[in-house]
Amino acid sequence: MGKVFSHSKSLRNISTHYCAGCGHGIAHRLIAEVVDELNIREQVIAVAPVGCAVIAYDYWDFDCSEAAHGRALAVATAIKRVRPQNIVFTYQGDGDLAAIGTNETIHAANRGENLTVIFINNAVYGMTGGQMAPTTLLGQKTATTPQGRKPEEGYPLKISEMLALLAGVKYIERTALSSPQEVMKTKKAIRQAFQNQIDHVGFSLVEILSPCPTYWAMPPRQALDWINNVMAKEFPLGRIK
């Protein structure tokens, strides 16, 4: 029988540091598969965030830069402008992209930089111990909202909907890692966001609702249900722009 499946070339064959049930591993792999399928591994330059995925460059097998917390899209802007022939993407969490880096995010989008953004929304700061994120739901308990997030602590920030208002933004889709079906839709959206860059379409972002069982204090299976039943009500899935 012939070989029907093999490990992605763009992913090193090592274990990750992520918690059980975390979505980062799946998202990394989807990106690696898309990069392989589009045959762009040798052109890719990734920008890793500060957050749980800070050492994403240890897992991917292509060129990668670190960026200071929140500054990934400033770093990526310059990389793409200096080397337009390369395929440049950022991988950022909710704190990185929608709190400390909001300014860089909005302005890179508004300039219509021809970049691909993979935005992992897990409604919490994971690396630092489960604090409130800009996307934390109302009532959600975190290390810094022990009674659950109240409106005076801010509403869940819908950065994708905000970015969709900007003329420079060409593609935004929100997906989830909550079931095999949603994972396949996520891969399709990631592929679209990379294809857009190859086709010089412009700023493309995929927001991925991703489970964090550790800081949601749930078993992994329940975390997937929580995405479908609770989180996706606040952050509706589908094409935003």
Partner: protein, 352 residues
């Protein structure tokens, strides 16, 4: 070679382009606005990239990105803006990325004012951001130097894979003087030598640009390598100008705009046969200790020093550390818009 009239700010911008700088990102702040304006006008013609960034933070991190893929990259700002850039400069020092940062200093602290000052000497010469690192710091004194130092700055940045700061002030930036410029590009981007740069991993293993080392012991090893590099720079890259050091009984120590005024004072005193000299540090880090050793070897104990600054005793510390109590050191400093005049310097010297 042709002769043109330019401000110090424009001279630095043109010097950078001549040095092969092909990426500039900046944010408006007085008194350095002529630099981004010049870059906006001339960088596209040179085939480079100009970006007006949304913030000082974005600008310095764009420089990080451009440097990471091997381009000669630069930003410029003035004191409050340079404070905002410190995070990015620390990351570049940690990731060993070469870049040039021009700081056209103004009065502080806080929003201060837009008048010339030298009160960010500590910020530039000590690690201005977090962590044990140093930027190489060069201080031009007049417009021709503002132009001439740019290729040297980019060369030093590339040679040591380290950020280089050009430390000027509002006076240098705004002064217009005749300038000799080269008509053929002196330097070219040497991207092919930067094997560490991010270019896509075609035909090689992937490159990673980072300053993050979590495994026990790794960061300490990296820091020791950085310290080794800084030691080499301290030995090899001290730069200064000495004036009348052979017979001077009083030596003024001043840099940048302050040195220009001190030079005029020294020349006036020499006309009256007063034995006054000048040490003008050109590299502020590494501090030119060699200039003082030279004087020391010729009976430093009888020589008095006067440190003059447009700040309140910052470079004074480096002079005292260098002399280590072996000579008397006087001080004259004003800041916040006030600049010590020739007369003030001369009267201070008479009182020493």
């Amino acid at each position: 070679m042709k002769r043109i009239l330019m401000t110090g700010n424009e001279a630095m911008a043109e010097g950078a382009i001549q040095a092969g700088c092909r990426f500039y990102a900046g944010y408006p702040i007085t008194p350095q606005n002529e630099i981004p304006a010049y870059m906006a006008g001339h960088m596209p013609q040179a085939g480079g990239v100009f970006i007006q960034a949304e913030s000082e933070l974005a600008a310095i991190n764009m420089v990080f990105g451009a440097a990471a893929c091997g381009a000669r990259a630069m930003t410029s700002s003035s004191s409050p803006g340079i404070s905002l850039k410190q995070e990015g400069i620390s990351y570049m020092a940690g990731a060993e990325l070469p870049a040039v940062i021009v700081d056209v200093m103004r009065g502080g602290p806080g929003l201060g004012n837009i008048w010339p000052a030298q009160s960010d000497y500590f910020q530039a010469t000590r690690s201005g951001g977090h962590g044990d690192y140093h930027c190489i710091v060069l201080a031009p004194s007049f417009v021709q130097e503002a132009y001439d130092f740019m290729p040297a700055a980019f060369d030093l940045a590339d040679k040591y894979r380290n950020p280089v700061i050009i430390l000027g002030d509002g006076m240098l930036g705004q002064t217009m003087e005749p300038l000799h410029v080269t008509t053929s590009p002196r330097h070219h981007v040497t991207r092919q030598n930067k094997k560490w740069a991010l270019t896509g991993c075609k035909g090689r293993t992937p490159n990673i640009v980072k300053s993050f080392y979590m495994k026990e012991g790794d960061l300490e090893k990296v820091n020791l390598l950085l310290q080794k590099k800084y030691k080499t720079i301290k030995i090899r890259e001290q730069r200064y100008e000495g004036l009348f050091l052979d017979d001077a009984k009083v030596i003024i120590v001043a840099y940048g705009t302050m040195a220009r005024i001190c030079r005029a004072a020294v020349e006036r005193l020499r006309e009256k046969a007063k034995k006054v000299g000048l040490i003008r540090p050109i590299s502020l880090w590494p501090f030119p200790e060699n200039a003082f050793r030279l004087v020391n070897s010729r009976a430093r104990r009888r020589v008095k020093f006067l440190v003059a600054e447009m700040s309140y005793g910052q470079m004074l510390e480096d002079v005292r550390l260098t002399l280590d109590g072996q000579a008397e050191v006087g001080f004259l400093g004003r800041s916040g818009g006030g600049i010590p005049s020739e007369e003030e310097i001369i009267s201070k010297i008479k009182k020493l």
